[in-house]
Assembly symmetry: C3
Homo-oligomer: 276 residues x 3
């Protein structure tokens, strides 16, 4: 049986455009993984066209990976427009906490735009919550890792942050949490090796946008489905990489390969999800 069957059906049954204001490091992989899971990506960031482009799309990604002043203006303009049109808007606050500029920008974006989903690692989400942070670069601090020991507290934290921000909160790591103010999915798919490829976070954010764009009335489940799909695809990719004696670049290829086989990836036997 395929988990999240209805979510998947909606993705495959309509034209699904995802507008991405994203960083230049992982942009190609984000475009390709959106295509792989059944959407169509548009990367257009000039302030003269962002509103018009976002109007013809179904969802908007705002990814802070490589910021600059002009891009932030475009993000705000696109975000407000997407809000007005009730398109799902997803924030990926890459590296927030690593510089004052990033933290200030995240706060500014959250003040100006209503986000439907915010996805980050534990350190990034902590910074979002506290308004300041100590992120070391783009990876989570080891002290912020989600474990079974602190899971209960972290789920509570995510639910409260969702209540405060109005956004579905996604914290990714060894254990992933997808929470709105009432309900949280806890997902244990994925593999540590995925963090050794650049852009797995950005790619996940992109497919969350695709899944939510296709399921605007069911965003919590759609987001959980995207997180499961990415994690499971990662597991299968690591298996294949090891079998083929490949390395990290093979792993990235297999990861996107498996995302183009979403049904296989989301079959019930492989998915490790529970809700609270």
């Amino acid at each position: 049986m395929v988990m999240f069957e209805d979510i998947l059906k909606n993705i495959n049954n309509k034209e699904l455009l995802v507008h991405c204001l994203t960083n230049y490091v992982t942009v190609n992989d984000c475009a390709n993984i959106i295509l792989a899971c059944g959407g169509s990506p548009i990367m257009a960031d000039d302030i003269l066209e962002v509103e018009e482009i976002t109007s013809i799309c179904n969802a908007l990604v705002i990814n802070m990976g490589t910021l600059n002043t002009q891009l932030i203006e475009s993000m705000i303009k696109a975000g407000k427009k997407a809000n007005a049109l009730c398109h799902p808007v997803i924030l990926d606050p890459v590296g927030v906490g690593a510089s004052k500029f990033r933290t200030d920008t995240a706060i500014k974006l959250m003040n100006e735009i209503k986000f439907d989903v915010i996805r980050g690692n534990a350190s990034e989400i902590k910074t979002i919550s506290e308004g300041h942070g100590t992120t070391k670069g783009v990876d989570a601090n080891s002290s912020d890792t989600i474990t079974h020991k602190n899971l209960h507290t972290t789920v509570d934290f995510a639910k409260k942050l969702s209540e405060k921000t109005g956004a579905i909160i996604v914290i990714t790591g060894a254990i992933d949490i997808v929470a709105d103010r009432k309900k949280a999915y806890i997902i244990e798919n994925g593999h540590a090796m995925m963090s050794k490829i650049t852009g797995t976070g950005c790619m996940l954010t992109s497919i969350i946008a695709a899944f939510c764009g296709a399921n605007p009335k069911n965003k919590l489940t759609a987001t959980a489905a995207a997180v499961c799909a990415m994690g499971r695809a990662g597991e299968l990719a690591v298996e294949k990489m090891q079998k083929e004696d490949g390395g990290l670049s093979s792993l990235k290829m297999y990861l996107i390969d498996y995302m183009s086989k979403t049904k296989e990836v989301l079959c019930e036997e492989g998915i490790k999800v529970e809700s609270r």
Copy 2:
């Protein structure tokens, strides 16, 4: 026998530099596919150096995938210089019609620069012809698809547009058309799956530039050769992908792999081309 043998010979027998003013989404794949087919790419877009860079090159690509005001100025400067030096200049009006900014920019570029080749999907080329459009994003509208039924009309349209613009017109889709005002090549290589990888259009534009840069006196045939090569490489890549049970990321890799074996790709048995 290798089709387009003379075209290929010219590519392999000289130093062939291709200057690309292109989008940041697919730029790496464009650089690699130019190298694969025997050229050498240079991506330099600052207005302070575009003229000098284009002067040492053999062809210029102007790709509108991710536009901004500064880049447009650089495009015009480089384009004028390339025109003055009689280098082939290729326009890829990515997403034209999707925003007023893109449509205006395409018109502006066409007013300021003489293009030798314009390549787009059916919706983009329609927009170019009419000066306005309804492109949904970066893919062709299904209503604009080239079929055997509308082929005759479309070939006529392409020839007339070539007459009007002075450029070779390339319309890509399930059937590809390469036309100047007198003659059209109709190419049926390629595979629907290629549209599920970002950048197949951009990559094709890049190799058209390489092929024309090496064959400036034979641009129509060179362009047809590039379109055949890309389509046939795509077919072979899909076959290999299916045999190896891979996905869309493997497909992209195999596509570029095959473009590094141009002779194999352009062998007569595989090429489906006719001219009218």
Copy 3:
């Protein structure tokens, strides 16, 4: 036995952040190869954050591949900060000599920043030394190729340039030279096919930064180790590509794959290095 064992140990035993101000063509491959060899990349180029970001890192890459005026300002600010903190700073003067803008920028950067390592092909390094040049694009002129015949002269030249600039000089080509004012490593690993992939130079510069960031007290050996690793990984990748009947895109994947197996790559049997 693993060559450069101590160098490797330092890479794997600490958190290693590499700040990259680099071009948008090869940035994804640079990020992935830094991760593959055990580091963690951060690409942040806005002037409002470069100082703060470089402060939390262990090394800085300044790559001139796609220059613009704003980026140059960020490079200078980041470079000065990294100098103040004694972080290794690596210059990759991509295409210097191909335009006045690039040559002027390289000179400006060298005046403002103290570089620990400068890596380029023979034409680029010649331009750096003479202050003007005739680089054709981003590849070395064939007249500048390092051969066994001119090796002695070239090593001398590299040592003198190192004395003049205070930087370790890395000249890459069929034979690679890594020299400070007193000592030079001559490395004959690598394969001609590597130059048919975009970004092998940029990737090497990135891993030199990672190796030096982990070994700030032993930068000459660390740089030589990085050059050997890249060359040997390239050889192994070409072998695998040929065995699997792949093409240039496969080659890139295998290259990064092998860089994630640095121990295997740096085993003594495969490394061809001598010092003078």
